[in-house]
């Protein structure tokens, strides 16, 4: 193991000077965890005074995959959880999926996916040509067709230009069916970069006033020609029933967006994140089930959005010890 790992020398930590060129010989010795490399543009070997940006030199290729940014404005509404789980669900449907962490400096997609120990290189290493895109991708522990492109932890978001992101995402689209971009909170440079690489958007909100307000703002900041769809996350049907929480309809009245899914709140998400496992693998979790439905809808299937009556919460609790092949449907 130490041989393979040494070959993934982390530029940030190694005493050696960072290699001026990528090491093409390393890709031959790659462990089976790496995807079959697409033909990468050969990096230049000349000495450089400042990090050279690959976006200025790489030839553009035809793209085939979809690039979707998962954004929200408000932090903490579930973008990273949704991105990780959607990625897993889409991979289960047979798609090749790349999830991209665009939160430079505050990365978390790695930890939510339980891949934090396998991160070696990151997107800025690729952009600054210290490694190829393929060398930076981390394969999921369970799903072979799901890969993560990590963000740098000790750099700033404004060290990446929108063009850099576009270039990266384009290359990913050449190999993967779907690229999901996990957008940072806010509407600053990180947000702009994440959006720059995408052709579609998913806006995540919760049924709370601040989140809805921020989602509205974000919707207004997306390019006019970018299709945007809404996920209402962390719905708590009992609270809607009590009148404490906005309903799905309340949210849709304010945010006039196409709804691609409603995801109920579930404390199992916390447990899953503790372990670095996807919540879609917890068969009793309504959250997991809802995200699977969203994945199907993204692939064009007509899957109805269930009502989430308050009774279902009670029902799920009663049956929490019993396994079903599918989540229980609404009573009645």
């Amino acid at each position: 193991m130490s041989n393979e790992v040494r070959e993934h020398a982390d530029e940030l930590l190694a005493l050696q000077a960072p290699p001026q060129e990528s090491a093409p010989d390393v890709s031959e010795a790659q462990p089976s965890e790496q995807a079959t490399p697409p033909p990468a543009a050969p990096p230049s070997v000349e000495a450089q005074e400042q990090p050279r940006k690959r976006s200025r030199t790489r030839e553009r290729k035809a793209v085939s995959g979809r690039a979707i940014v998962v954004t929200s404005g408000k932090g903490g509404v579930g973008k990273t959880t949704v991105t990780a789980n959607l990625g897993a669900a889409l991979a289960d449907s047979g798609k090749r999926v790349a999830v991209v962490d665009a939160d430079v400096g505050l990365r978390n997609l790695d930890v939510v996916m339980g891949l934090e120990n396998r991160v070696r290189m990151h997107s800025l290493d690729v952009i600054e040509e210290r490694c190829t895109l393929d060398e930076a991708l981390v394969r999921d522990r369970v799903r072979r067709s799901l890969m993560l492109l990590p963000a740098a932890q000790n750099r700033d978001k404004d060290e990446i230009d929108p063009e850099d992101m576009q270039d990266l995402i384009e290359e990913l689209q050449g190999t993967f069916d779907i690229v999901l971009i996990d957008c940072p909170a806010g509407i600053e440079q990180g947000f702009r970069n994440a959006v720059a690489g995408a052709q579609e958007a998913i806006i995540v909100t919760t049924p709370e006033v601040s989140a809805v307000r921020d989602a509205d703002r974000v919707a207004g900041l997306l390019p006019n020609d970018m299709p945007a769809r809404l996920i209402i996350n962390r719905l708590r049907p009992q609270l809607v029933r009590k009148g404490t929480m906005m309903s799905v309809d309340d949210v849709l009245e304010i945010l006039r967006l196409d709804l691609v899914g409603v995801v109920p709140d579930d404390k199992e998400v916390i447990v899953a994140t503790n372990r670095g496992n996807p919540v879609i693998d917890i068969s009793t979790s309504p959250t997991g089930a809802a995200i699977r439905r969203i994945a199907s809808r993204l692939l064009g299937e007509q899957v109805p959005i269930p009502d989430f009556p308050a009774q279902q919460a009670w029902f799920a609790r009663v049956l929490s010890g019993v396994r079903f092949p599918r989540p229980p449907s609404a009573k009645g």
Binding site: G76, A185, G190, S210, R217
Partner: protein, 262 residues
Amino acid sequence: MKGNIFVVTSGKGGVGKTTTTANLGVALARLGKQVALVDADIGLRNLDLVLGLEKRIVYDVVDLAEGRCQPRQALIKDKRLPGLFLMPAAQTKDKESVSEAQMARVVHALGADFDAVLIDCPAGIEHGFRNAVAGADEAILVTMPEVSAIRDADRIIGMLGTRRTRVVVNRVRPEMVKTGDMLSVDDVAEILGREILGVVPDDEEVIDTTNRGQPVALDATRRLAAIYSTMARRLLGEDIPALELLDDGLWSRIRRIMVGQR
């Protein structure tokens, strides 16, 4: 205590910075202090909404920073409490409209007139964060017992320099700590290595009060009000040991659970 300027920050979004800012402000005002709350989340403002003051905004912090109004004009006086004021963020500008130096000047001027200034920081570590932190003497770091939140909090601690940093552990769920499904307050304190300002249990009342623009600390009968009041008193320098909540049996049991003792 005159002029202490606190930034309420977290790194991770959604852990409760704005709620904490609003409720701490209310609690301080209820203790008779003059408090200015500053919303530094330009472009994505929410402190006004949480306080229920969104309809009274005329001028905002960008107007003040660019000299279009006097300080008093940019401050909204809360009608419920004599000492509580809000300086709202601009909604249509972006965070690059104000520089760190401008923000520092604004909050220092407020610090001269108020007993406490609380700056509601945006999520992240970009320009907005740097602006919010620029003028602050001390930091209140809000986090929750969740892996990403604590990781981001640790990162933030590194960016706060030598400022005194106290942690609010928000949205704790004692029943999940008891079953081993959630990190305990002790875990958080150990990992972050900073003093704890307070512990706030997860409470659906917060959603309700946010919807109505009536911070929960306004209502002395609510249990969360007592928690915020204790935190406010600690901010004012009272030496109340951490986790000494109300002394009825329910609370001491919850306290034991939250620190992870079985």
